[in-house]
Structure formats: C-alpha cells, structure tokens
C-alpha cells in the first residue's frame, strides 16, 4: 500500500491552489465565481479521499460485504455542495445586478467608476 500514499492529497492541493489563484488573481466577476467553484470542488475531494477505505465499497449495507468506506465525509460534503450552489447562485445574481448598474463586470473598471461617482 505504498501507492498512492500521500500523493492523492498533493494532487488535490494542486487543484485547490489553481482555484484559489483564479479567485484572487482574476478581475472578472464571473471568473472569480468559477474559481471559487473549482476551489470548493477540490476541498470536497480532499474530504472524500479521507473517507476511502482500501478494498471498501460504497456505504450501502448489503450482505457479504464487510468493508465500507466512511460515510461521514460523504454526508458533510453533500451539505457543503448544497451550500456551494447556494453561494454560487447568489453570487451570480449579484453579478447580473452589478452589470446592470455599472455596465461592466471587470473589477478594475468598477473601481474606476466608484472613484468618480
């Protein structure tokens, strides 16, 4: 059981950081929300990968199976996914309003407009 060892975590961290980078480095409001999604999906992966048991199956009880993967991370992530989609939809709604109010969804252009109201 040497492979994948800790490699799974590191790959996921790589994904997470790409998502995080998109959120903070990009000025486009939609792109930021996309980045947030990528970031969150990777965090979900981090949880799920913790719950995996070698040789286990999905945690649905059946006869003849003794090893199950851990159901708790699954439950937590189900909740987190729902929270994620709620955040996304609110964020997108705000983006639409911002576009109507400013005519732009680029962060630096918004800043310019706000400086001379």
């Amino acid at each position: 059981m040497a492979f994948p060892g800790l490699l799974n975590y590191w790959l996921i961290i790589g994904l997470m950081m790409i998502g995080f980078y998109i959120v903070i480095a990009h000025g486009n409001l939609i792109k930021k929300i996309v980045g947030l999604n990528v970031f969150q999906v990777s965090v979900f992966l981090l949880y799920i990968t913790m719950g995996k048991v070698e040789g286990g199956t999905a945690p649905i009880l059946a006869e003849g199976i003794t090893a199950y993967s851990n159901p708790l991370p699954h439950v937590l992530i189900l909740t987190a996914i729902v929270v994620g989609v709620a955040t996304t939809s609110l964020g997108l709604a705000l983006v639409v309003r911002i576009r109507n109010a400013y005519g732009s969804i680029e962060e630096d252009e918004l800043d310019v407009q706000d400086d001379r109201p």
Partner: protein
C-alpha cells in the same frame, strides 16, 4: 482535472470557461465514484454539472461572455499567497494517514458506529441517508435553510419589477391598479 483547471484559469472566453467548469464537475463526480461516494457523485453531477452550469450560462446571457485580459498587477501577490497557502496545506498532509488506510483515525472513532449500528438503530441500508437524515439531521436542516435563503435571496436581488423608492401612498395606489398578471410577476418570475 488539472489540465482543465489550468485551462479555466487561462481561457478568456467565459462561455468556454463555463463549459469547462461543467466538465470539471463531472470529472469530480467520477472521482467521487472511484472513492465510493456514490451519493456525493450523484449530487455533484446534478448540481455542479447541471444547475450551476445552467445558471452560469444564464448569467452570461445577461452580461457578457468575454473576459478582458486583466492588468498584470496582482499576479505576483496572488502567486505568493497561493504558494504560502499550498505550502501550509502540504505541510499539514505530511502527518496524515495514507490513502485508503483502514486504520486512519477517521475510520476508528465515530464511523464505526454508523456502519455497525445504523442497520439496527435506524434500519436503512443506505448509511449515508441514515447519517444525513438522522444522526446529523440537524446539519441537513441547516442545509435546507441555506437553499431557502438562496432562493429568496435571488428573488430579492433579481426579482423582475424593481421600482424606485416612492412614498407609500403611491405604492398603495399602484397595487390597486395592478392587474393580477403584474402582481404575479412582481412576486416571483
């Protein structure tokens, strides 16, 4: 998935970005299946690849589908922040149990009871459902309210008829003159 994530970061056409995000979610769902999280995979496929993508497309239709190349000012700062965060994360994983290790603390402490007892305590074969709705049912209640907030929040932010601030009498008058159709629109669609 890494390729797609990088592509999402690089591409400026938001339409392509949204499509790639959908694919990213689907791949995530596939990864969940590999790691035995079938319920999560189901949800991710329905939400991440379905609803989120549809909403983002809707937003694109209402705004614009081209990202303007941003001035390169915050790239270095962002890279520093991301590198530090990533380094702390990797530092944290060094003492984590290896992938699939059945002796990991995660599987020892509370999970045992869920798998061992939920069949008799709750009586459902799907342990995820048992934990979701019964053992940790309160979290799920919170989650339902989160969705509720999202729905009425979107209604509040984007609801169709938005009239300027007016005196109350005017609004009362308006209400009196409004046709049923208008009222319905104002409240929902």
């Amino acid at each position: 998935m890494g390729m797609i994530a990088i592509a999402i970061a690089r591409i400026h056409n938001l339409f392509a970005v949204v499509m790639l995000t959908g694919i990213f979610s689907l791949l995530g769902a596939a990864a969940y299946v590999i790691m035995d999280a079938v319920d999560v995979a189901f949800t991710e496929a329905a939400v991440g690849a379905g609803i989120s993508t549809v909403l983002m497309l809707g937003t694109l239709a209402l705004t614009t589908s081209e990202e303007k190349p941003s001035p390169k000012k915050n790239v270095v700062g962002a890279l520093i922040v991301v590198t530090i965060t990533g380094a702390v994360l990797i530092y944290g994983t060094l003492d984590m149990p290896h992938y699939g290790d059945p002796l990991a603390p995660v599987h020892q402490h509370v999970a045992d009871r869920y798998i061992g007892q939920s069949g008799t305590e709750v009586g459902l074969p799907n342990v995820v459902t048992s934990v979701l709705a019964s053992y940790r049912g309160y979290d799920t209640l919170g989650e339902t309210y989160v969705i509720f907030i999202a729905a009425i929040g979107v209604l509040a932010i984007l609801g169709r008829v938005r009239f300027p601030r007016r005196r109350e009498e005017d609004i009362a008058e308006d209400d009196a003159q409004k046709t049923p159709d208008e009222t319905a629109r104002e409240t929902g669609a």
